[in-house]
C-alpha cells in the first residue's frame, strides 16, 4: 500500500474547472431545452425577449419578425429580426456566443432578460444539435455598416469562436437579426410558439410581431398603440434582501474606497447617516476599505443591514401593463361576458420592488365544466411551462373562489367559465430556475397575487349576483307577461271589448308592467373587441396533436 501513489493524486489529474458552457451542455433542461418542442420555443422566446428589451431600451417601437422554417428531419431554421438599436461590432460575439455575458445581470431594472444566459444558450443548443453556427447581423445606425458574423461557442473556454465575419449590405436603418439551425418539433396548442407570440402581443400592445410559421403561413400581430410603456428606471439594489454572495461580489468590484461610500453609492435608500448606522450595527468602521472586508466581516455587515431600519426602495422603477390594457388584451382573446383587471400598488420582497396585476374574463363561450385557464406573465413575458410549480398557481389555488361563485375543490384551480391573467413586474423576478418558467414562492409575492385575485373575485361576484338578480327579474316579467293576454280575453268577454280595444288593453298592461318594475337592466353587452381569428391562433387544430405534445410536469 505504502508504495502506491495516493489515489487523490490520480483523481487530481481529472479535476479541473468546469466551463459554464460545458455544464449547460450536460444540463440543458435547466435552461428550458428539455425536449425538441420546448427547445424550439425557448430559442425563439429568448431571441424575441432580447429584441423587445433592446427596442425598448433604445426607445424604438418594436417590430419583430419571427420566421420558423421546417428543414425536415426535425430540423428547423429560426430567424428573428428586430428594429432595435443594434449591437456594436466588438460585442456581437460575446453577447451571442458567451454564456453569462450581458448587461442586465448587473443592474436592477424591469426587463425581460435577466441573466445573460438565454440567447447564448440558444446558440449553444443549435450548435449541439445541428453543428451549424449562429448567423448574426447587426447594424447600429444608418451611417454605420452592417456586421455579419457566424459564431460557435467554445464550450471549454465559454468564449466565442468566430467562424466568419464580414460587412454586408443590409437594407435597414438599425436592428439585429439572428438565424439559428436547430433540432426541434413544432406543434400548436397551449405551449406553442403561436401561443407564446399571441400572449406576448396581448400584454405588449405597442409591439408588432410578424410571424411566419413552419407551414409558411404569415400571421401579423399589429401594434394596438403607438405609446411605449414607461421606460423602466434602473435602480440600485436595496440593502434589505441582499445576500452574502452578492454582497461579496459587489465589494470586490466596487470603486468606492470606504465601506461608508460603498454603502451610499452601491445601494438605494442609503445616505451617510444610514450608512453609519449600518456600520455601527455591524460593528465595522465606516472607513474600512471594501477590498479588506473578509467573509466574516461581510456576514456581520449583512446582520448589520438587517438590524437597520431603511426606507423601502423606490417603486417608480416599475411599469405595469395597466388595468385598461390588461382588460383590452383579454377582450381581444376571449369572448366572455364580463371582464375586469386590477393593478396593485407596488410592494417589496427582499428589497426588490414589484407590482402584481390580475385580470379576469368570465362566461361567454368559455366552458363551465373545465378548470380555469390561467395565463401567467412576468415582466410582460408569458410563462407557458411549469404552471404547477409557480407561485401564481399556488396563489390562485389558495384563493377561496367559492366566495365569488365558482366551484373549487381543495388544492385545485377553480372550475368555471373563467380565464385568469396574472402579471408580475419587478426589477428582479424570482424564478425557480434559469429557464424562467415559474415564479418562486415568496410570501410577499403570494400575498399580493392573492389580494389582486380577491379584488377581481369580488368584482366577479358582484357581477354574477347582479346577473342572477336580473335573470330572476326577467323570469318574473316573462311570467307576468304570459297572463296579460288572458286579462285581455277575459275583459273582452266581460265588457264586450272589440278586438282592437283588447289589443290596446294588452299593450297598456305591458306598459304598466314596465313602469311598475322599472327598466330591465341590460347586462350582457357584446364584446366588440373580440377577434375570432386572433383567438384561434395557437389553438390546436387536431386533438391528437395536442396529446402527442402533452407534457407531464413534475417537480
Amino acid at each position: 500500500m505504502a508504495e502506491e501513489t495516493p489515489i487523490a493524486l490520480e483523481l487530481a489529474k481529472r479535476q479541473r474547472e468546469i466551463s459554464i458552457a460545458s455544464f449547460f451542455e450536460k444540463n440543458r433542461h435547466l435552461l428550458g431545452f428539455d425536449n425538441p418542442r420546448k427547445a424550439l420555443l425557448t430559442s425563439i422566446k429568448e431571441a424575441v425577449d432580447n429584441s423587445l428589451d433592446a427596442c425598448e431600451e433604445g426607445s424604438f417601437l418594436p417590430e419583430v419578425s419571427v420566421e420558423v422554417i421546417d428543414m425536415q428531419n426535425d430540423r428547423f431554421k429560426v430567424i428573428i429580426e428586430d428594429n432595435g438599436p443594434g449591437i456594436v461590432k466588438k460585442q456581437i460575439p460575446n453577447i451571442f456566443a458567451k454564456l453569462l455575458y450581458g448587461s442586465k445581470f448587473f443592474k436592477l431594472s424591469q426587463s425581460r432578460g435577466q441573466q445573460g444566459i438565454g440567447i447564448s444558450a440558444s446558440v449553444l443548443y443549435a450548435q449541439l444539435t445541428t453543428g451549424k453556427p449562429a448567423r448574426i447581423t447587426s447594424k447600429i445606425g444608418e451611417k454605420y455598416p452592417a456586421h455579419y458574423y457566424e459564431l460557435h461557442i467554445d464550450t471549454q473556454k465559454n468564449s466565442p469562436e468566430i467562424i466568419k465575419e464580414e460587412v454586408i449590405e443590409w437594407n435597414k436603418e438599425h436592428g439585429t437579426r439572428i438565424e439559428l439551425d436547430l433540432e426541434g418539433s413544432y406543434q400548436k396548442g397551449d405551449q406553442s410558439i403561436d401561443q407564446y407570440l399571441k400572449q406576448t402581443a396581448i400584454v405588449n400592445p405597442h409591439v408588432t410581431i410578424i410571424y411566419t410559421n413552419p407551414k409558411a403561413e404569415q400571421i401579423i400581430f399589429p401594434r394596438a398603440t403607438e405609446v411605449m410603456p414607461r421606460k423602466p428606471v434602473e435602480i440600485k439594489p436595496h440593502p434589505h434582501g441582499v445576500e452574502i454572495g452578492r454582497l461579496l461580489s459587489m465589494l470586490k468590484f466596487t470603486e468606492s474606497r470606504t465601506l461608508q461610500s460603498f454603502l451610499t453609492s452601491e445601494f438605494s435608500r442609503v445616505g451617510p447617516g444610514t450608512a453609519k448606522q449600518i456600520c455601527g450595527n455591524a460593528a465595522l468602521l465606516p472607513n474600512t476599505k471594501p477590498v479588506d472586508i473578509t467573509r466574516e466581516m461581510a456576514e456581520k455587515l449583512v446582520q448589520g443591514i438587517e438590524k437597520t431600519k431603511i426606507i423601502a426602495p423606490p417603486t417608480d422603477c416599475i411599469s405595469p401593463i395597466g388595468e385598461d390594457l390588461l382588460e383590452k388584451g383579454l377582450r381581444k382573446e376571449i369572448n366572455a361576458e364580463f371582464y375586469c383587471a386590477v393593478t396593485r400598488p407596488p410592494e417589496v420582497y427582499r428589497g426588490n420592488p414589484f407590482i402584481v396585476e390580475a385580470g379576469l374574463a368570465y362566461g361567454g363561450q368559455q366552458s363551465a365544466e373545465e378548470g380555469t385557464r390561467l395565463l401567467r406573465y412576468a415582466n410582460r413575458v408569458p410563462l407557458l411551462y411549469q404552471q404547477g410549480a409557480c407561485a401564481v398557481t399556488r396563489s390562485v389555488i389558495n384563493t377561496a373562489w367559492r366566495n365569488y361563485g365558482l366551484s373549487q375543490s381543495k388544492g385545485a384551480l377553480p372550475i368555471g367559465p373563467v380565464t385568469l391573467v396574472v402579471h408580475i413586474a419587478s426589477v428582479w423576478v424570482p424564478f425557480t430556475s434559469e429557464s424562467k418558467e415559474a415564479i418562486a414562492h415568496y410570501p410577499e409575492i403570494i400575498k399580493e397575487i392573492k389580494l389582486a385575485l380577491q379584488e377581481c373575485g369580488r368584482k366577479l361576484a358582484s357581477y354574477v349576483n347582479k346577473k342572477r338578480k336580473i335573470q330572476y327579474e326577467s323570469k318574473k316579467r316573462d311570467y307576468i307577461q304570459m297572463f296579460i293576454p288572458h286579462i285581455g280575453e277575459a275583459l273582452k268577454e266581460l265588457i264586450n271589448l272589440k278586438e282592437n280595444e283588447e289589443k290596446t288593453v294588452e299593450k297598456l298592461l305591458a306598459e304598466i308592467l314596465e313602469k311598475k318594475r322599472g327598466k330591465l337592466e341590460q347586462i350582457e353587452a357584446e364584446n366588440m373587441e373580440y377577434d375570432e381569428d386572433f383567438a384561434k391562433i395557437g389553438k390546436t387544430e387536431y386533438e391528437e396533436e395536442e396529446n402527442e405534445g402533452e407534457e407531464h410536469e413534475k417537480e
Binding site: H486, I487, I512
Partner: protein, 371 residues
C-alpha cells in the same frame, strides 16, 4: 236570535256586479295606465272575530290583493276569466258544477287550474269579493247535502210545474230524505222538539233503525262529516223557522269539535264571507265530550299527532274557542287524558245503550253539554 233570510239579489243584478268590477277595478284602471287590482276579504281564522251576540264568525277588515305581481298575476287572470264564465252562465241561465269549472279552465292554457282546490279557492274568493254565494253566480257544488229523517214535512216545488210537493220525512222507512243543493225555497212543518245532528252515517242508521225520532220526538240529521253548506243552511232555516234547538252528537275528538261542530255553529275562517247564512248559532254540543269518555267508561284511542296539533291550534288561534272557557277546559282535559273516543264506542255497553241510556241522560242534563 237574529232571523235573517239570505239577501236575494236578482241574477241580473249579480251579472251587473261582475261587469261593474271588471269595468271599474280593471278596465278603467288600465286605461288610466294604473295597475288593475282585485281586492277581496282574506278568508282565514286570522281575519274573523267571534261575537256571541252575532253568533257567527264575522269578517274583520283584512283584504288580499291580486294584481300584476309575479305571485298574484295568475290568480288575477284566473279570477277574471272565471268572472267572465260566471257572467256567461248567468246570462244563459245555466249552471256549472265546481268540478266542471275546473275542467273548463283547461281551455285557458297557462292560466288553467292544476288541481280543483285551486279553482274552488278562486270561486270562494269571487263570492267573498262580491258578497254573494256561489249559487247566485251559477256555480253548484258536487257533494250531497246530508240526510234527514223524523218528524218533519218539507214543502218543495215540482221543478216542471212549480206545484207544491209535501215530503214527509217519517215515510222513508229505513232510508232518509236527502237535502237538496239549494234549500232557500223550502218550507217546513213540524212538531218535533229538537233536531239531533249526527256526525256519522253509522250512528244515524242505528237511531233510524229503532225509530229513535219517534221516541224522542225529534228530527234526525246526518251530516256525514263536516256539514256541507246546504246542510248547514237547511238546519239553520229549519231551526230559525220552527224555533227548534239543534243538538250535535259527534265523535269525541278535536276534528269533531272544531271542524264539524264549530263550522256548523259559527262557520269557518275559509268561508267567513258567507258564515252569516251558513251557520247555526243556536247549536249545542251534546257529546261525546271528554268528560263523557270518563263518565261512560268509553273505550278510547290515543290522540294522534294531528289531534294534538288541532287542539293546540284551537286554543291558540280559534276565536270561538278563545271565547268559551268551557271549550278550553274540555280541550285541556282531552290533552291530559291523551285519548279520543268515537260515538260508536257506546256500543260497548250494548247496541241500544245509546238510545236507552246515553241520549236520554245527556238530554236531561244540559250542564254536561258544551256551548
Amino acid at each position: 236570535m237574529r232571523v235573517k233570510s239570505m239577501k236575494k239579489s236578482k241574477q241580473s243584478d249579480v251579472a251587473q256586479k261582475i261587469v261593474s268590477i271588471a269595468e271599474n277595478d280593471v278596465y278603467l284602471k288600465i286605461k288610466k295606465k294604473k295597475a288593475p287590482e282585485l281586492n277581496m276579504p282574506l278568508r282565514a281564522l286570522s281575519n274573523v272575530k267571534y261575537d256571541p251576540k252575532e253568533g257567527f264568525f264575522e269578517l274583520l277588515g283584512k283584504m288580499k290583493e291580486r294584481t300584476l305581481t309575479a305571485s298574484t298575476i295568475k290568480t288575477f287572470a284566473q279570477t277574471l276569466r272565471m268572472m267572465a264564465h260566471a257572467k256567461g252562465i248567468i246570462e244563459s241561465d245555466d249552471i256549472t258544477t265546481k268540478r266542471e269549472m275546473y275542467y273548463i279552465s283547461k281551455n285557458w292554457a297557462e292560466a288553467a287550474f292544476t288541481e280543483q282546490p285551486e279553482s274552488d279557492t278562486v270561486m270562494d274568493d269571487m263570492e267573498a269579493m262580491m258578497m254573494v254565494n256561489r249559487e247566485q253566480l251559477g256555480f253548484i257544488p258536487e257533494e250531497k247535502g246530508g240526510e234527514i229523517a223524523g218528524k218533519l214535512i218539507v214543502i218543495d216545488r215540482d221543478p216542471d210545474t212549480g206545484k207544491e210537493i209535501r215530503i214527509d220525512c217519517t215515510k222513508f222507512g229505513s232510508g232518509a230524505y236527502s237535502i237538496p243543493i239549494t234549500v232557500e225555497h223550502l218550507k217546513f212543518e213540524t212538531n218535533a222538539k229538537f233536531i239531533l245532528a249526527i256526525e256519522t252515517a253509522g250512528m244515524f242508521q242505528r237511531l233510524l233503525k229503532h225509530n229513535y225520532w219517534k221516541k224522542a220526538n225529534c228530527i234526525l240529521a246526518s251530516m256525514g262529516g263536516v256539514p256541507t253548506r246546504a246542510c248547514r243552511r237547511f238546519l239553520r232555516r229549519l231551526s230559525d223557522d220552527k224555533k227548534l234547538p239543534v243538538y250535535v252528537f259527534a265523535d269525541g275528538d278535536p276534528y269533531a269539535y272544531f271542524n264539524i261542530y264549530r263550522t256548523l255553529k259559527v262557520g269557518s275562517g275559509n268561508a267567513a264571507h258567507i258564515n252569516e247564512y251558513f251557520c247555526v248559532p243556536e247549536a249545542k254540543f251534546l257529546g261525546v265530550t271528554p268528560q263523557d269518555i270518563i263518565d261512560y267508561k268509553l273505550p278510547s284511542h290515543p290522540l294522534k299527532d294531528i289531534d294534538i296539533k288541532r287542539g293546540k291550534d284551537a286554543i291558540k288561534n280559534d276565536p270561538f274557542v278563545r271565547h268559551y272557557k268551557e271549550w278550553q277546559k274540555a280541550i285541556n282535559q282531552m290533552m291530559q287524558m291523551k285519548v279520543r273516543a268515537e260515538q260508536q264506542a257506546l256500543a260497548k255497553w250494548g247496541l241500544n245503550y245509546v238510545m236507552d241510556e246515553y241520549l236520554p241522560k245527556k238530554l236531561n242534563k244540559p250542564d254536561t253539554w258544551l256551548p
